[in-house]
């Protein structure tokens, strides 16, 4: 169902009498990618609670094509940086990101992952934002963001993936 969302009508032609849809290879690949994103099981701090709630039954991100959380970075497509990155944790976050296979995406969830949040002043141990360590695709404000906000950010990421060009390297 989600597969057909955002599809360009010009690219789709239904052939009468046969269940066939014609579309460009680019659209098909992007639609496949954006609707089977596996999330890295990885929470840094309190935002991880909201992330778990988003994955659980009440909000259930599987409805939007995010399916199972991947227990290994090798199988994950999306890293949700849910929480504060400390100076000590930063090299490990970077290593997890590097272990993920291309194409890979990063969502910075919450104030801490965007800028350091409440720790922006007078803190000796906090990295001022996930983008100081790894490239970030989507920023979701909030402290912490509600599950609706996270879902909205993830759907925005799907829209971003749908705009990718085959001729250009992903992310």
């Amino acid at each position: 169902m989600g597969l057909m969302n955002g599809i360009d009508e010009k690219l789709v032609r239904k052939i009468p009498g046969a269940p066939v849809v014609l579309a460009s290879a680019e659209w098909a690949i992007n639609a496949g990618r954006s609707n089977s994103i596996w999330t890295l099981t990885f929470g840094l701090r309190c935002c991880a609670m909201e992330m778990m709630a988003t994955g659980a039954a009440k909000y259930d991100w599987a409805r939007f094509g995010f399916e199972v959380p991947a227990a290994s970075p090798r199988r994950a497509d999306l890293m949700i940086v849910a929480g504060t990155i400390t100076t000590k944790m930063a090299p490990l976050v970077k290593r997890l990101y590097e272990q993920m296979a291309e194409p890979k995406y990063v969502i910075a969830m919450g104030a801490c992952a965007i800028s350091g949040g409440p720790f922006i002043y007078d803190s000796y141990s906090v990295v001022r934002g996930a983008d100081k360590v790894i490239p970030v695709d989507i920023y979701i404000p909030g402290c912490p963001p509600r599950p609706e906000a996270l879902l909205d950010g993830m759907i925005k990421l799907q829209e971003k993936i749908m705009k990718q060009k085959l001729t250009k390297a992903a992310s």
Binding site: T87, K88, Y121, D122, S123, Y124, R128
Partner: protein
């Protein structure tokens, strides 16, 4: 026991330099060299079996760092705080990890956070901090990555 009774009991065996009451809890200042002996006395004779925590407070205006030992007794549900005044430039105090096993990690944390040397400690490594951050809880700690809080 109220704090006065506890103070009298400590005074029978050990010298108390200074004492005050804070929220009904005795705060007693002890000589630096005596801390291990006083801690053993607290544990064995006054039955303060638990050392809740060890931390420190920095007073740059007085050029002093105070090491704070918080004891608790399960028998009488009393608390006692022992304090030691140290010179900021050469902060060194004997370890009490021989008396209370839990003091081991507490002293490592106080050591990395305040730059206090606990002499005689079996393994005074860093506990939590990564390399490159030295005594960050001292009031005069400076770090180029730190943004100072703007004045309101």
């Amino acid at each position: 026991m109220n704090f006065q009774e506890i103070l009298e009991k400590i005074k029978t065996k050990h010298e108390v330099l200074e004492s005050k009451e804070d929220l009904g809890v005795l705060n007693a200042y002890i000589a630096t060299a005596k801390i291990a002996a006083v801690a053993a006395f607290m544990k064995d004779e006054l039955k303060f079996e638990q050392l809740n925590f060890i931390t420190a407070v920095d007073f740059p205006a007085n050029n002093a760092i105070e090491v704070v030992y918080h004891f608790f007794s399960y028998e009488t549900a009393d608390s006692v705080v022992l304090r030691i005044k140290l010179d900021r430039a050469k902060a060194e105090v004997p370890t009490i990890s021989g008396v209370f096993k839990t003091a081991d990690w507490h002293e490592r944390e106080a050591s990395e956070m305040f730059g206090i040397k606990f002499s005689g400690h079996p393994d005074l490594n860093r506990l939590l901090l990564p390399d490159g951050i030295e005594s960050p809880l001292r009031k005069d700690y400076k770090n180029p990555d730190m943004t100072p809080l703007p004045k309101a």
